[in-house]
């Protein structure tokens, strides 16, 4: 599906390494992102999946340095590989940039763009769609009003908005949910970003509209060759769109890997439980739906050791509660997991499942 040939030498577009984003609130520290590492390859789609409170949205915002207060990047690195105007490659570590620095402002929109879940609240209601798209273009490119207008028209046409010229002069509240999301995507694409972060882009939409938007994202990726980081709680959307997947739970990545491996042979008990608990659309459930016991703990009551331990069917006393699992590759697969079933704390690696 994706045109970009991935050679062995190709460097990731973005490398996130042991990223920690903590919110220092009066009540205590909320570890929204607590040691997450992954790479995004150019032209590929990385799916970030997890339930509410797992830190997936904070992760997306951190890549753009737009974390809400009192959140701070406490540790880790986010290396972005880009090219300057002459085509010379360079690297920047987003963590080291001040959120309001010139570099960071150039990265936003130009290198990395973001599509939010709620297109209604992400547009200004007092400016027309066209003016908002033009603003984004003129912030990054030295073009005339007329050129920006033409480019905006081209963009809204590209994302499949009917009557594009008329829609440009309308306000966000005059558009339906699906059109608003298309306009949001048009704005995000205005500076041809190399990475598009889509944070729950279809959650507020109906299934038939969701299918349209996912189709659009796929087409645009084929045309522009941009990478997409797709943040969602919907495993169906991930299965459909992603090349690689990061599964998050309570701020930590519990499993990463190729989309086929993750869905066909999940290794972490959380991924396994999550996949089993979705009712199948193919057949009537006669039996009880397998579910994960308990609920997601409150961020102030994080369990010690492995955060999934109180809900885990394979919980090992004396192991899982005393040590933090380390994120390690599973040999012979594309996957990496943070689970003692696969990597006992003494360091010797077994392939799991014999003890439960």
């Amino acid at each position: 599906m994706v045109q970009t040939e991935v050679s062995a030498k190709q460097l990731p577009l973005l490398s996130v390494n042991d990223l920690k984003v903590h919110f220092h609130t009066d009540e205590g520290i909320v570890k929204a992102v607590d040691g997450v590492s992954f790479d995004i390859m150019p032209g590929k789609t990385m799916g970030v999946v997890g339930e509410s409170g797992c830190g997936k949205s904070t992760l997306g915002r951190t890549l753009l340095q737009i974390i809400e207060k009192p959140g701070l990047i406490d540790d880790g690195s986010i290396v972005l590989r880009s090219e300057d105007e002459e085509g010379n490659p360079y690297e920047i570590d987003i963590v080291n940039e001040h959120s309001n620095s010139r570099t960071m402002r150039a990265v936003r929109g130009q290198d990395i763009a973001l599509v939010f879940q709620e297109p209604m609240t992400s547009f200004s209601p007092v400016h027309t769609i066209g003016n908002q798209i033009k603003e984004a273009i003129r912030l990054h490119h030295d073009v005339s009003e007329k050129e920006a207008q033409d480019r905006a028209l081209e963009l809204v046409t590209q994302v499949g908005i009917p009557n594009p010229a008329q829609r440009l002069s309308e306000y966000s509240f005059q558009l339906s949910g699906g059109l608003r999301q298309r306009a949001m995507i048009a704005m995000a694409l205005s500076c041809e970003p190399k990475l598009l972060i889509a944070d729950e882009p279809t959650t507020a939409l109906d299934v038939t509209t969701q299918a349209q938007i996912l189709d659009l994202l796929r087409d645009l990726q084929q045309q522009n060759g941009m990478a997409i980081m797709l943040i969602t709680h919907n495993l169906g959307v991930i299965a459909e769109m992603a090349d690689d997947v990061v599964v998050m739970y309570l701020g930590r990545a519990v499993e990463t890997g190729n989309v086929n491996d993750i869905f066909h042979s999940p290794q972490h008990p959380y991924t396994q439980g999550l996949l089993r608990s979705i009712p199948s659309i193919y057949e009537k459930g006669i039996e009880k739906l397998p579910s994960i016991k308990g609920s997601i703990p409150h961020p102030f009551n994080r369990p010690s050791g492995c955060t999934f331990r109180p809900r885990c069917p394979s919980y090992m006393e004396g192991v899982c509660d005393l040590n933090d699992p380390v994120f390690l590759d599973i040999e012979g697969t594309s996957q990496a997991v943070a689970c003692f079933l696969h990597h006992p704390p003494d360091g010797s690696s077994t392939n799991g499942s014999e003890s439960a």
Partner: protein
């Protein structure tokens, strides 16, 4: 369907708990200083279906298709514009909820209860669990506090919460637990019909499965009948015996869940099914991408409401409105070409 309205004497057949005939709800659009009615939103436009005692009817459709309005009309939370809502009481008598006077309706509400979508908005943060779950009991005449406490404890146990939590307030509970509280409240008066409006769509996947299981367990043990309003088709397939698919205020297809999912007869149902993302990367199927947007219920298109988006539309569809017709055993479809179309559904591979 006009002929069905005259048969008011027709008592619902045995086993049918709820029968809805030609239900219509129009909301007026008012404009100007004098609030003149300039038009109406046809939220529910001639809807008929029935639900069998102890079974689950899934009402599916996209936002704005009228599924919530239909469910609210059935409970008389809003008054329908016209139509019949026949409910069979425990003593076998059939009553029309749509035209019932206030006092008997109040008593009837014991039999029909609702579970809401939003577990945060539907529980009063200033009321303890005892007050929340005990309120329907108090309203319906259980004055003794200790009796209520016993019943609340029993209900909390039934939905998997500890009775000791009775004096706590909703903020202390997670989304899934709050939804259990909402279920306990709905069950307080031993209802026979439970209208569940998107009861699991606000929950996380891992918690959603628990609540679905709970709903099925209590259905079995209490012989409840569900009207299950949802947009998540995989949840509906799991829980519903029958499905009614709605589009712009009308039912376009109604029938057995298995048959509809495996072999849809209405182009909209087929498109809806094909839009669902399947959590399996090896089935990245060719989907039917519907063009355009859902029609505006204040200004619906002529003929079949679905025709501007339908790839099979003919001239007949543009002018003539299709009726919901029985095309197979227990299978109702509202499409001029239902019998000729060969549509793809979803079946296990």
């Amino acid at each position: 369907m006009a002929e069905a309205t005259v048969e008011t004497t027709n008592t619902t057949e045995s086993g049918t708990l709820l029968e809805v005939n030609n239900l219509v709800k129009h909301f007026p659009i008012q404009k100007g200083f004098l609030k003149r009615t300039v038009g109406s939103v046809r939220a529910v436009d001639d809807v008929s279906f029935s639900v069998t005692q102890g079974k689950t009817l899934g009402l599916v459709g996209e936002s704005g298709c009228g599924k919530t309005t239909t469910s609210r009309c059935i409970l008389r939370a809003i008054d329908p514009t016209s139509g019949q809502i026949l409910f069979r009481k425990e003593d076998g008598e059939t009553v029309d909820v749509a035209t019932m006077p206030y006092q008997p309706l109040r008593d009837l509400r014991r039999d029909m209860q609702m579970i809401f979508q939003d577990p945060y908005g539907s529980l009063n943060p200033r009321m303890s669990l005892f007050d929340i779950v005990g309120e329907p009991l108090l309203v319906h005449g259980m004055k003794s506090s200790s009796e209520r406490a016993d019943r609340v404890a029993e209900l909390l146990r039934l939905v998997g919460l500890r009775p000791e939590y009775m004096r706590r307030f909703p903020h202390a509970f997670s989304g899934g637990e709050r939804q259990r509280i909402g279920i306990a409240r709905a069950l307080a008066l031993n209802p026979r019909l439970v209208v569940a409006d998107e009861p699991v769509s606000a929950l996380d996947v891992s918690v959603q499965a628990q609540v679905i299981n709970l709903l099925q367990e209590i259905q079995e043990s209490l012989n409840l009948t569900y009207l299950f309003v949802a947009h998540d088709l995989s949840v509906v397939r799991h829980i519903a015996d029958e499905v009614a698919v709605m589009y712009v205020g009308k039912i376009v297809e109604l029938g057995d869940t298995e048959k509809i999912f495996a072999n849809p007869k209405h182009p909209y149902t087929s498109a809806l099914l094909s839009s669902v993302p399947i959590p399996d990367p090896s089935v990245r199927q060719d989907r039917i991408i519907l063009q355009g947007e859902v029609a505006n219920p204040a200004n619906p298109p002529s003929g079949c409401y679905f025709h501007p988006r339908c790839e099979y539309a003919t001239d007949q569809c543009k002018t003539e409105e299709p009726q919901l017709e029985l095309i197979d055993e227990g299978r109702w479809v509202s499409c001029h070409h239902a019998k000729d179309l060969d549509l793809t559904g979803l079946s296990a591979k």
